[in-house]
């Protein structure tokens, strides 16, 4: 994956998110590769809208001001498909009409023969301890397994940053700890800047980076 570069990381320069003119979120931050920026806030504080803005899904009546710089590229005005921001939600959102392996193939950037692509997925599954899961149906997986597949999926798409929207809140307590370790570890290894929005202080503690609170 991408090596550390000076111009890398995610920079939010005087980022302002407005709703009908009213400032909802105002943020200035530099997230270095492999580190986590945790944004805390109650529901309705605009933290999910902030992630939508970073990923490029903001439309009227929301407006974005400021710049979003990812790995040296100004992505503020780019469409979502060119930004290379990997998303993870509270629910794994594995497509139920595709098998586990097909879900992962879906994320893999284009290129390579069909055989090579399959090979890569099989390897990724083996590395994650999910050997033989290629043809399994997402619904037959446990919550923890689904989260792991969702994590592999986002990593396989070779993103340059991770955006996490309460990704651990629907897991039970023991799985939650494991997933936290896995996700943050993976981000460190891949050198990805991470923005995590959550209302759970334990998430923030486990992330161990800067913390911003959106609550008044």
């Amino acid at each position: 994956m991408s090596p550390l570069r000076p111009s890398s990381g995610l920079a939010l320069q005087s980022l302002r998110l407005r709703l009908n003119g009213r400032v909802l979120v105002s943020l200035d931050a530099q997230v270095a590769q492999g580190t986590v920026l945790t944004v805390m806030g109650m529901s309705g504080s605009g933290k999910s809208s902030l992630l939508a803005a970073l990923a490029g899904f903001v439309a009227a009546p929301f407006q974005v001001e400021g710049r979003i710089i990812l790995a040296g590229r100004d992505v503020t005005d780019q469409p979502p498909q060119l930004r290379r921001m990997g998303l993870m939600f509270q629910h794994s959102l594995l497509f139920p009409h595709l098998s586990v392996g097909e879900n992962l193939l879906f994320a893999l950037p284009p290129g390579g023969s069909r055989h090579d692509r399959r090979e890569r997925i099989t390897m990724a599954l083996t590395e994650a301890g999910l050997d033989g899961f290629f043809t399994r149906h997402p619904q037959t997986l446990s919550g923890g397994q689904q989260s792991r597949v969702a994590l592999i999926r986002v990593l396989l798409s070779a993103p340059q940053a991770l955006l996490l929207d309460e990704p651990f809140s629907s897991l039970d307590a023991s799985t939650r700890d494991t997933m936290r370790c896995l996700v943050f570890e993976a981000a460190r290894t891949a050198g990805l800047p991470v923005v995590l929005v959550t209302h759970d202080p334990q998430d923030a503690a486990a992330a161990g980076g800067q913390i911003v609170s959106l609550d008044p």
Partner: protein
């Protein structure tokens, strides 16, 4: 578990939906095989079948029905999916969404009559083009309307089916988490159309598959639209079947019965072709999705899909406007774009006949949809009492297929049999028989529009009320009914709209003695004066429209607190 089939209201549904279809099919099959006691034919024979086989142009009629039906369904579905894929969350889409209900409530025949006045060689489009070309100083002799390839029929069907499929798709969209899935896929680098096609469309399609198949069955067997827009020599199969069935010669009627069975086969074959297409498309989509085909720049395709939708909307709006203009046109010669003289003469001329047919239509439609509403409410309440939840909810595959049965079987295939049965019972041509045949088509829509709201009411309201000492009856009358009133009013209005738009059941079962605005408008279509056609088509449009308006207004008057926002 209580066996569902044994509960009276559920049984009633089965009787009203499956009964007439099954009985009608048998009633069609017997004469097709030579058995029609009314005609003195009591022995099985293949005479009607061989008569049918000798009919000239039969295979062309079959191909026209198949082709226009399949093309209209595929095009409508494609346009709906492209629109959703490209514009699901845009301001444009919100505007289009508002046009949905009015467009849906326009009966098929009225839409076809309006479209005919727009695209005919002497219609609005050519008139608009006339000043720019000297060749157009008289109407050109192009076969645009009723063209031999049924293209204008296909266009008419698409205009009517796109709003219907869009409505069905919108209702199912929430169940498949469409927005988060599209966003996730876009962040993985997929273009908007690819994201929707790979991540949402496969499941969305399965949610709306039954309505899609109903559209297919309808399009391959439509009569009223095909009479107005479809080719003449030969006409589509369904039009010829309807003609033979109404023939005074009983032998030709028996040939009609055989042709009705052929129609059943043709629509069935269309479904098989469609299913093969489903397989092919689903494999292709899967192949492309797993191959990582991103299609990230799809601006042109998205723009084009919107252009097509705009064209359809423009045609629909033009159709309605032209109907309105013609109804008050005194002198409107080619190539004038607007009438030269205005008059209410046509309305006055239609006067007493129109009043009579409007009142027949209204009484028929309201009685049928009110009865349908009562039956459906009784059925849903059985479920509520037995299990706390209504019996029928979206997704119950078996029950939904049953509910859709009258919409999945071509009307001509079983209406003839029903007509024969009513004839035997001495009920043919009576108001009751027509009402019963309308009920078969109204019930499915009333069920579909009530099942969702009924299931959506928090079951804890009932439990709370019961624990406060209220009886089941009191819970129903005091809590359920007031809360469901808006949904009920809409369901009745929808039922009215469906009943108003029925052409074939009214014609065949009514035997010409029950005259509604729809049978009148279609009858006038061949050879009637344009102003008179327009007056009847408008009357046909106004009725459902008034129904929906009343449905929006009544609950506000009856239960104002539901709308005031504060429960004081």
């Amino acid at each position: 578990m209580t066996p569902a089939a044994l509960r009276p209201a559920t049984l009633a549904i089965a009787v009203f939906l499956v009964g007439p279809v099954a009985a009608g099919l048998i009633g069609t099959a017997l004469p097709a095989l030579g058995y029609l006691p009314a005609a003195g034919a009591r022995e099985m024979s293949l005479t009607p079948v061989s008569m049918l086989m000798e009919t000239p142009g039969l295979s062309r009629s079959v191909l026209l029905s198949l082709g226009s039906g399949l093309a209209a369904t595929a095009l409508s579905l494609l346009l709906v999916f492209l629109l959703l894929a490209g514009w699901m969350n845009s301001p444009v889409f919100r505007v289009l969404r508002r046009l949905l209900a009015p467009l849906l409530s326009v009966p098929h025949a009225a839409a076809a009559l309006g479209l005919a006045l727009v695209i005919a060689p002497s219609g609005l489009l050519v008139r608009l083009a006339a000043p720019f070309s000297p060749a157009l100083d008289r109407p050109p002799d192009w076969l645009i309307l009723q063209d031999p390839f049924a293209l204008s029929l296909t266009l008419g069907l698409v205009i009517k089916e796109v709003p219907f499929l869009l409505l069905m798709a919108l209702a199912a969209l929430h169940q498949v988490d469409a927005l988060p899935r599209v966003r996730l896929s876009e962040s993985l680098g997929y273009g908007r159309i690819a994201a929707f096609t790979y991540a949402v469309a496969p499941q969305l399609y399965w949610q709306i598959r039954l309505p899609v198949l109903a559209v297919l069955a309808f399009s391959t067997s439509v009569v009223d639209m095909a009479l107005i827009l479809g080719p003449g020599l030969p006409a589509t199969l369904s039009v010829r079947v309807a003609g033979w069935m109404g023939d005074p010669d009983l032998l030709i009627r028996m040939k009609g019965a055989a042709a009705a069975l052929l129609q059943l086969g043709v629509s069935g074959f269309a479904v098989l072709v469609w299913i093969a297409g489903e397989r092919l498309t689903s494999n292709l989509v899967r192949y492309m999705a797993t191959g990582g085909c991103r299609l990230s720049s799809d601006r042109t395709v998205r723009a084009l899909s919107l252009v097509w939708i705009y064209i359809l909307v423009a045609l629909a709006v033009a159709s309605l406007s032209v109907l309105a203009l013609w109804s008050v046109a005194g002198t409107w010669h080619y190539p004038d774009v607007l009438p030269r003289r205005w008059t209410v003469q046509s309305w006055l001329l239609a006067g007493s006949d129109l009043t009579r047919s409007v009142s027949t239509t209204l009484v028929l439609g309201l009685s049928v949809s009110l009865v349908a509403a009562v039956v459906v409410v009784a059925m849903l309440q059985e479920g509520v009492r037995a299990r706390g939840q209504p019996v029928l909810r979206h997704g119950g595959a078996w029950m939904s297929a049953l509910v859709f049965l009258p919409l999945l079987v071509p009307q001509v295939a079983f209406l003839f049999g029903l007509q024969v049965l009513f004839l035997q019972a001495g009920l043919d041509g009576s108001w009751w028989a027509v009402a019963l045949s309308h009920l078969v088509f109204v019930l499915p829509y009333v069920i579909l529009s009530l099942a969702g709201p009924w299931a959506a009411l928090d079951p804890r309201y009932r439990l709370l009320a019961l624990s406060l000492g209220a009886s089941e009856a009191k819970v129903f009358w005091r809590i359920r009914l007031p809360l469901m009133l808006p949904a009920l009013a809409t369901a009745v209005a929808l039922g009215l709209a469906v009943s108003v738009s029925q052409y074939l059941p009214t014609l065949l079962v009514g035997g010409g003695r029950v005259v509604t605005v729809t049978t009148e408008a279609v009858a006038l279509a061949s050879g009637g004066s344009r102003p008179l056609i327009a007056v009847h088509a408008l009357a046909q449009i106004v009725l459902p429209f008034a129904g929906f308006a009343a449905a929006a207004l009544l609950p506000r008057l009856l239960v104002p607190r539901l709308y005031s926002g504060t429960f004081s």
